[in-house]
């Protein structure tokens, strides 16, 4: 291979990488980010989107180039090059993807950790007498919060979510509120404990980038902190019957004051507000 062609390839590679990075960082395919998770998620998305774009455009380019450059011209006879393999090339394209994939795996592990995904699910359940009353948590993000030790303001706001065909019910143990919509204060950690009555459903808020199946007989947990006030859809994402497509609710994120007003208007039992 001559020097100019190596330079040309290098140049093309650099353009490809820069172009892919640009697309990955600047093309926005996601809805607004309204939770702490969402910001972290979007960071991961941009990295994966950049790597994906570089790879895809590179391979697309190679295919198109080969098809044009090495196409059989009219009247042309004879075979192509007798290349049966090339050990160093093959080692190269085994090693590079392995490193890329390893990087992606470690990076997404880090992201998942920052989302609270690696916190043991049944954290805090052990040294309590209610331990046998407390059901095992089977999956989710973040630790299960117990109602009894949430009286201080810094602790998570616990909400019990029940899914049934075709609605979500939200129970606030603190004020004994039952609501068809989820109300949460902005900036406050919320801990959902989810369980289904009939079939499997899934709790999804696209603007929060979180989802958790809601399973009969196997409670799950989902912790999040909303960061933008507004009203967002809660979508059921697991086929649960004929009306699955209309199984929706909403989460209302309010400033703390507005939330407190809502809470005291609805609370059945008086609780000490912090």
């Amino acid at each position: 291979m001559s020097i100019p062609s190596i330079i040309r390839i290098l140049l093309l590679g650099i353009i490809l990488v820069l172009g892919g990075l640009w697309i990955g960082q600047n093309v926005n395919l996601l809805p607004v980010d309204a939770s702490l998770n969402a910001a972290v998620y979007d960071e991961l998305f941009r990295v994966l989107f950049s790597i994906g774009t570089i790879l895809f455009l590179g391979i697309l380019g190679l295919v198109l180039f080969s098809l044009i450059k090495f196409r059989r011209r009219p009247g042309q006879q004879g075979d192509g090059l007798a290349l049966e393999g090339n050990l160093s090339l093959e080692v190269f394209w085994t090693a590079v993807p392995a490193v890329v994939v390893l990087f992606i795996g470690l990076y997404s592990f880090d992201i998942y950790d920052r989302m609270g995904g690696m916190v043991p699910l049944n954290h805090g359940a052990h040294d309590h007498q209610q331990m046998d009353m407390q059901q095992n948590i089977w999956g989710g993000i973040g630790a299960n919060v117990e109602v009894s030790n949430t009286d201080n303001a810094l602790a998570a706001l616990p909400v019990e979510v029940t899914a049934l065909q075709y609605a979500f019910l939200f129970h606030y143990p603190k004020g004994d509120i039952i609501s068809g919509e989820l109300h949460v204060p902005k900036g406050q950690l919320v801990s959902l404990r989810l369980e289904a009555k009939d079939v499997i459903h899934a709790f999804w808020v696209p603007e929060f980038r979180i989802k958790q199946d809601v399973i009969p007989g196997q409670p799950t947990v989902l912790n999040f902190t909303a960061t933008k006030t507004g009203r967002y859809s809660i979508v059921c994402a697991e086929l649960c019957g004929p009306y699955h497509g209309s199984m929706r609710s909403a989460v209302v994120v309010d400033e703390a004051d507005d939330y407190n007003t809502w809470f005291s208007n609805n609370a059945k039992t008086t609780v000490s507000e912090a």
């Binding site: 192509g80 090059l81 290349l83 393999g85 089977w138 696209p206």
Partner: protein, 556 residues
């Protein structure tokens, strides 16, 4: 096992088996007849599955549920998935091409167990008919092709039971086929033919059949337990009776993740046959191809829980399956780079077979990239069970396997019928399939990212336009089958005569007449030790390139 070899069976078969078109409706033992039975039967189910898919896209052209009743919609989407997987892709990439090609490739006159082979095929039409007719008789199953309990236990039982029966039959057929392929490849090879001299499709089928034999019985057992839950109210998967609904998901995906490789590994094999013949080059990296296939087989068995990241799975499990799944991209990547290197420096005929193969490469790379994204737990938690996943798997299953099926039909049609297909129509078919497919499925990635779940009949009106775009793509895909069907029928009657080896290919099926005789060769089977022995040296390549006058001016 001896049935395939004795020379006397020649006359025997002639007496016992119908000849002419009738034999395609008979319990024929000829592997080529059985292969074609699989292919045509599969294609009919593809048309049915396509109609069902079209019905889904019509419903989704508007955000309201206004085209079908809601429970009918769920029946339609369940049937669509089941038909496409179990009655179209799996039987065609395995049964159809496997039966047609494997005996040629190993230098045998038939499969190892011809009778089992015929039984395996003849289990399919009744099972398919049962599945389709369940819609008319009792109402079909409504719980998706995944049939997750408790939903599948609580929806109308008759349809679900017929669904289970039909899938059990199809699974059984698939296991019989798998056993037969393993035996044929390992035991019926012509003396002197070594494993590492086999055409790559044999390796792909060996790997696939291992997956079939290991994982399909698990599906069968799981579905039998599910049917107990439905019929006699046992509580294996029913939380109301103390069962565990998530265990079903583990068992189901222990089969169904390997199932995706059962759908795509044979397609990888077919592409490895098609590209070298039309690029006039050896298949690049034969040995690494073989090892990648086997690595995919092993890894494919330990990644199933990536379908359950939002289910009842603890953190460590989510993490383990992320890493294992991501690493499948490495052997898969090797295969793609090998194909790219096979294109490089070739003398590529840009015919329909090559266009569909290259369309496959492009589509599958896209689907593989979204696959690796989905393998990352934190990424998947947002898009699981949304249209992003629908887009991903259509890119790999349709953009991958179905594109390869078309490429394979364009490639082997001259061998099967003795006549050539019309190339202009073929390229036109490719063009509208490629455009229609991408128009249909690319926008679905955006839908999933922005909040549209899968398996819904109604959706947020903000998604209307993108859904209509996708439906327009589906319409184009439906139309694209017309030139294909016309071409296949028309050319069978008066296409130009192909001759024995129109592509000047080196694999054994081309070294006999077109169509091949019963028992494949009139004399002894040829010993092909270099199925990919194409190619010239660098100097000769340059010479043939510059000999050509119209080339000299444009490129020096």
């Amino acid at each position: 096992m001896t049935a395939a070899i004795p020379p006397t069976s020649d006359e025997q078969l002639d007496h016992l088996q119908p000849t002419g078109w009738l034999r395609y409706f008979s319990f024929s033992l000829d592997h080529k007849v059985i292969g074609l039975q699989y292919l045509v039967c599969g294609f009919i189910f593809y048309l049915i599955g396509g109609l069902l898919g079209g019905a889904i896209r019509i419903e989704l052209a508007s955000p309201m549920s206004d085209f079908m009743a809601r429970d009918v919609y769920n029946q339609v989407l369940t049937l669509h998935g089941t038909v496409m997987i179990f009655l179209w892709i799996v039987p065609v990439v395995n049964g159809a091409f496997g039966n047609y090609l494997i005996p040629f490739y190993v230098g045998a006159r038939d499969m190892a167990f011809p009778r089992l082979n015929a039984v395996a095929f003849w289990m399919i039409p009744p099972a398919g008919l049962m599945l389709i007719s369940s819609y008319f008789i009792t109402g079909a199953a409504q719980s998706g092709w995944t049939a997750y309990p408790p939903l599948s236990i609580t929806t109308p039982a008759a349809g679900q039971i017929l669904w289970i029966l039909s899938v059990l039959f199809l699974g059984g057929s698939s296991i019989f086929g798998g056993i037969n392929f393993i035996a044929t490849i390992l035991k019926l090879r012509r003396p002197g033919l070594k494993l590492m001299q086999l055409p790559m499709y044999c390796w792909a089928m060996l790997g696939t059949s291992i997956l079939v034999v290991l994982s399909t019985p698990v599906l069968a057992g799981t579905l039998i337990l599910l049917s107990f839950d439905i019929v006699v109210h046992t509580g294996f998967f029913n939380p109301g009776l103390g069962g565990n609904a998530v265990v079903y998901q583990h068992l189901f995906w222990f089969y169904s993740h390997p199932a995706v490789y059962i759908m795509v590994l044979p397609a990888f094999g077919l592409v490895s046959e098609i590209l070298p013949a039309h690029c006039r080059k050896p298949l690049f990296g034969y040995t690494t191809m073989v090892y990648s296939i086997m690595t995919i087989v092993v890894l494919g068995l330990v990644v199933w829980a990536h379908h359950m990241f939002t289910s009842g799975t603890p953190p460590w499990m989510r993490l383990f399956f992320t890493i294992a799944t991501s690493f499948i991209a490495v052997p898969t990547g090797i295969k793609f780079f090998n194909w790219l290197a096979t294109l490089w420096g070739g003398r590529i005929s840009l015919n329909s077979a090559v266009l569909f193969s290259c369309g496959f490469i492009v589509n599958f790379v896209f689907g593989g990239i979204t696959g690796v994204m989905l393998a990352q737990v934190p990424f998947d938690i947002h898009v699981h069970d949304t249209y992003f996943v629908v887009a991903h798997f259509h890119y790999v299953v349709y953009g991958g396997s179905v594109f390869v099926i078309f490429a394979a039909i364009y490639h082997w049609y001259p061998k099967i019928t003795g006549r050539m297909l019309n190339e202009h129509l073929g390229r036109f078919h490719f063009l509208i399939t490629f455009i229609g497919f991408n128009l249909c499925f690319a926008p679905q990635h955006w839908l999933g990212l922005n909040g549209m779940p899968r398996r819904v009949a109604e959706y947020d009106p903000q998604f209307t336009f993108i859904n209509q775009l996708s439906s327009a793509g589906a319409l184009l895909m439906a139309l694209s089958t017309l030139p294909f069907l016309w071409n296949v029928v028309q050319s069978a009657i008066n296409g130009p005569i192909a001759g024995d080896n129109p592509w000047k290919a080196l694999t054994p099926e081309w070294l006999t007449s077109s169509p091949p005789p019963v028992e494949n060769w009139t004399g002894e089977a040829p010993l092909v030790t270099e199925p990919y022995g194409y190619g010239v040296t660098e100097e000769q390549f340059q010479k043939t390139a510059t000999n050509n006058s119209d080339r000299r001016s444009s490129d020096q």
